[in-house]
Amino acid sequence: MDIHGSTVEFHGVTRKFGNVVALNDFSLKIKPGELVTLLGPSGCGKTTALRILAGIDKEHSGVVEIDGKDMSSIPANKRNIGMVFQAYSLFPNMTAQENVEYGLRVRGVDSVARSKRASELLELVGLASQSARRSTQLSGGQQQRVALARALAIEPSVLLLDEPLSALDAQVRSQLRDEIRRIQKTIGITTLFVTHDQEEAMAVSDRVGVMNKGNLDQIDSPSHLYNKPKTPFVAGFVGLTNVVPAVAQSKNEVLVLDQVLDISEHAPSLVKGEEVKALIRPEAISIEKAAKGAVVITKSFLGPMTRIGIDVGLHDLIYVELTSKEAKKIDTGDHVEVTISSDSVMVTHA
């Protein structure tokens, strides 16, 4: 298969729907062969960005380029972009094989060549034996595999995935997620993936961009995004985060839950006495049984881990994650002493 990775660039792209700004001065560069995920809640603009790149929606301002070529005047059917939709996108009057062949058929490729290519791709997605089935005879996961094969059949310069796993059940979603990543790496195609599922985004991406109200808040590698969120929104959206009020004690120190923490690695410049918010991951907190102090209110078994909700006298509970073995020693109603590791604490201005 002759697919090469292309460079994709958004330069200050803005899209409005009436008075609502769906995409606000959006800029992003995707390197050849890279898989970038846009992550965010519904209505944050991630799908709009993808649709503009595909050419099925139009930007109001800004430029989209593929390999340095401005795409503004190029219609969707001339962009050579493969796209997998959320669901229901297979043509119901065609078999899986015919669906995969479709892009080649409208390009005038002869039937022998397109049949051969479709068979290869169905083999690649593990559906060679289902080629004669219509979409209505395939499961949701199988349909999305066929849709992926169909998108790849035209040897696109870019692959777009618009929440392709959201309609599938958890097990199939996980399998197909890994398969998409395997295929993407195998053929080295530049890919833009859109999802609202942070676990999915973290699992498959080279980089993840978190979007909020039409803006790209942060784009980084999954581990960097998790460990060094730049905004409370990113911290809250990517993984579970405790947002705790804190007071600056010096330029590098904050008082959080009666503990003074050195946060020189992560802190913005603080002014003594300034009220700030500390963003603390559950795994950065440890607890030990005590005679008095904070009280364990909830205990949720999550398999290998157990999440414990603790009342430390704030409006909200703070959450701690322990291995389920450790958590056996703690029961609801117990008093505990809370210790925060300063390594993983981020501080933002209140």
Binding site: G55, S89, F91, N93, A151
Partner: protein
């Protein structure tokens, strides 16, 4: 085991084995009761009259068994009536199907109140057939009709200057289209609404033109619904009576009008069973059309 106890066991087993069957039959009977009123209704108002009509169609006025009425269907006015009805049904089907399909396409592209308004209007127009519709057309397009006079006096266009006449075949065809096209909208729009936006977008991203989308996706997907809707329009056009009766002065040979004339006693001697034979012929045409309809639906469901 003693013989007595063996017999007892056997009879017990038989009773146990028979019980579920009896229970199943009882359950079937009970569920059957629910549709009995409906079956009684169609039995009394459809199958019983059908049997009577069939029986009368094969007997002459002296109650002798005869096929003469059926033979007569293949010649003269009766043959012409079938041809006339077939032509009227086919033309009105073709015109209404195209107009209705185009309206459906436009409606699904329209958002908000306009869409609801068009669907509601189609519902009203579909049920405004018969004498009220015929009268409104006569009042509008008759020789002394309002629209005819406005066109003549304001635009100096005499619509009766050419071949047009509200009372001839083309006039009746116009009126038929007036209720058949909305009927097409009502029955065809669910299929058009089922066309997913994602299919069109997938076609675009795969490099397909709008024509390719229509040719390879839209037409094959809509074809079964379009064909079945056309068949329903044909049946409706073939068997409609009131509108044609109100607009025709008897010069247009149509099967329902001839049946009406024969039922009203406008018959020659020894032709009492001719209306019954005509009715059976019309029912046969409708059965064939609905059979085709069922076949199309079955094939499309299998795909």
């Amino acid at each position: 085991m003693s013989q007595t106890s063996l017999q007892s066991t056997l009879s017990h087993q038989t009773a146990e084995g028979a019980l579920p069957v009896a229970k199943r039959m009882f359950r079937l009977d009970k569920s059957f009761l629910g549709i009995l009123p409906f079956l009684a209704l169609i039995g009394y108002f459809f199958f019983y009259p059908l049997a009577v009509v069939f029986n009368e169609s094969i007997h002459d006025s002296h109650h002798h068994l005869t096929a003469s009425a059926y033979k007569a269907l293949f010649g003269g006015d009766y043959r012409n009536a079938f041809i006339g009805s077939f032509e009227l049904a086919a033309y009105s089907m073709a015109i209404s199907a195209i107009i209705g399909a185009l309206i459906c396409w436009a409606v699904v592209k329209t958002q908000g109140h306009a869409r609801k308004l068009i669907i509601a209007a189609a519902g009203v127009l579909t049920s405004t057939g018969g004498i009220p519709l015929a009268f409104s057309f006569i009042a509008a397009f008759g020789q002394e009709g309002l629209v005819t006079k406005i066109l003549l006096n304001v635009f100096h266009w005499d619509i009766y200057g050419g071949a047009f006449d509200i009372y001839n075949f083309w006039g009746i065809l116009l009126v038929y289209c007036f209720f058949q096209a909305p009927l097409m909208v009502i029955i065809f729009i669910p299929a058009v609404e089922n066309l997913k936006v994602e299919w069109q977008e997938a076609n675009e991203t795969l490099g397909g033109s709008r024509i390719a989308y229509l040719r390879f996706v839209v037409i094959p997907v809509l074809a079964p619904a379009f064909i079945s809707s056309c068949l329903l329009l044909f049946a409706s056009g073939f068997s409609a009576y009131a509108t044609a009766a109100a607009m025709s002065n008897g010069t247009i040979p149509l099967v329902p009008l001839l049946i009406g004339n024969l039922v009203n006693g406008e018959v020659l001697a020894d032709q009492a069973n001719q209306g019954d034979a005509l009715a059976m012929g019309m029912i046969l045409v409708c059965v064939l059309v609905f059979g085709l309809y069922a076949l199309v639906m079955r094939v499309s469901r299998k795909k």
